[in-house]
Point group: C2
Chain length 351, copies 2
């Protein structure tokens, strides 16, 4: 039996519990033995829940249990998620996470700590929900020099822009629909203002460009709150859709990186043009493979749990060491070099 | 130094030589040492080629060299590619391949032989050119129950249908353009008649459904030679594009598999609708992750070499064991259960 612990019974943690129960036979056949959730760390209690009796509120129970090899961190937020993750790694347990904030901020330290202890720190679920993207970038495209990543990284903002474009509804109406449907949080600022997408493009750039990128390496982080119906109509006349993209580019010699999040103009023949609703899509250009793309649901408990599960499987079965980060490069801090079109006073980069 | 051998200096083998030279520094940083092509097995000589002096025409030279750990089989065709691959595995060398014919026909035996010898038989490059798809399916979605795969698996036929739809040119004109541009072979039958796509859907189904599928497991293999402009126009009026898809479905309990290749009707809101020209796109539905898709160039020497390279890296660094194949299931041999629309006497399944 493989014992794991889950820290945080929120949307993703709850999804993971459901997934482990729902796909018991599939997971057992992958491992050759049963995957067992021994602890769920949460401050709350869950009366009536299948795992009610395994809920604990003291991290030390997990840290001190030598039968726990992997811990899934699905708490969200910086603290205590970061402290708990670090403590788990120091205790010789692999940590897999869906927490993009902790990954963007602390992955460099946590990955190093994991290496030191011969365990893994894996974060497939931190970008694109269940879409396999971090692992394929690390392992399947590692012979390529990656020069560009451009992605629809936030489902909420893509849903809003899509509704505005298709139904002609206002930003405010589309946002409140998104909230009603559970796509947007009560406080939607991190989505709307591009912060969520920015964290994700930093993580992807770190995976692809061989050094660590943080929020303050972005030349610009602009969300969609200034995008009006009028902008969308003007863009449409020119043959474009406005999409909120996270973009990371690197020069051919790998020495100059440019990262930004901004509403961009996407032409009709680009795959990103066809990405509707809450879907995410990440396009990546490598000097061998050309353009490839990864598409799917970017959020949701069960979908994201698919990525957490695959990291658990990797941590237990494969223990691939992380790619080396050793090539710090010049970071470009403005997007003036990009070709832009001015629509009603706002500059839109053309992808 | 990591020594490899390449069998077959065709489009993919030549692309691999170019890739190893072009991305020498990237590849060295992945391995921590240099990747060196010690032999190229080919009947021809290559006067003036950078690797001219490493060309050999006797497989025994490779088999008897204990410094060769991995052999890339990029010969194409059944024999002698199959015999040579088997001999390499028996000699304790991992084999990575782009040869979809050998994989569809012999992977079950070759994978078993690899397991027996503690080496790998890997075939990422056999489907979708450079697109990472086999590896992500095996490793990133392995916690899912996969119920459906539907893909544009052949760039030549997608290019032809695309040209017919966009430019209103005839099948014959589009085909001869494809040949002129190097997308289609002089004898294009394997592409046009759906055989190439059928091999690929068999490989994908084998990876996803937990047992081996062969060409004769397909309920139907129909290419695009009967598709006329009239069909395309009628489909367009109904809001569809006609795309040649490879489809593999499995019942929720994993017990009934249906595989076929056939021109299908793809609605506007499906991602496959937006896949133009020679691009490939594979959509996969898992019971946790929902629908995900993998998109990119499905052919070309350099693009495909990206996948061969990633398999070489996996064979050397990771040596992941293959997923177990243990769940033979009922194979459905007709597509009557699919919902179809009749256009001018031809039945098109709706995706």
């Amino acid at each position: 039996m493989i014992n794991i612990a889950i820290m945080g019974m929120g949307v993703v943690g709850g999804g993971l519990c459901e997934a482990v129960s729902k796909n018991k036979d599939v997971i057992s056949s992958v491992f050759g033995e049963e995957l067992y959730i021994k602890y769920v760390l949460d401050k709350r209690t869950f009366p009536g829940h299948e795992l009610e009796n395994r809920v604990v509120n003291d991290i030390n129970i997990i840290l001190n249990d030598p039968t726990i090899a992997v811990v899934a961190e699905t708490m969200g937020g910086d603290k205590p998620a970061y402290d708990f993750s670090l403590a788990c790694l120091k205790a010789g347990k692999s940590v897999v996470t869906s927490n993009k904030l902790v990954v963007e901020k602390h992955a460099s330290e946590l990955e190093e700590e994991a290496l030191k202890n011969g365990v893994c720190y894996l974060y497939e679920a931190s970008v694109g929900g269940g879409i396999p993207v971090i692992h394929p970038l690390m392992h399947c495209l590692s012979g390529n020099r990656i020069t560009k990543i451009a992605g629809i990284l936030n489902g909420t903002t893509n849903y809003i822009l899509d509704r505005m474009e298709k139904d002609g509804c206002s930003f405010e109406d589309a946002l409140s629909d998104a909230q009603r449907l559970g796509y947007a949080e009560a406080n939607p600022d991190a989505d709307i203002e591009g912060l969520d997408a920015a964290r994700k493009i930093c993580i992807l750039a770190s995976v692809c460009f061989g050094s660590w990128y943080r929020l303050n390496d972005c030349a610009e982080i602009t969300g969609i709150s200034e995008v009006t119906l009028k902008h969308i109509e003007e863009a449409k006349k020119m043959g474009y859709k406005i999409k909120l993209l996270g973009v990371a580019e690197n020069s051919d010699d790998g020495k100059n990186a440019l990262l930004f999040v901004k509403p961009c103009l996407v032409p009709e023949d680009d795959l990103l043009y066809a990405v509707n609703g809450v879907f995410n899509c990440i396009t990546v250009t490598g000097n061998l493979v050309g353009e490839v793309a990864f598409y799917g649901h970017g959020a949701g408990g069960l979908a994201t749990s698919s990525a957490v599960l695959s990291d658990i499987i990797e941590a237990v079965k494969i223990k691939t060491p992380p790619c080396e980060k050793s090539k710090p490069c010049m970071i470009i801090k403005n997007i003036d070099a990009k070709s832009c079109i001015d629509i009603l006073g706002i500059k839109y980069p053309v992808i």
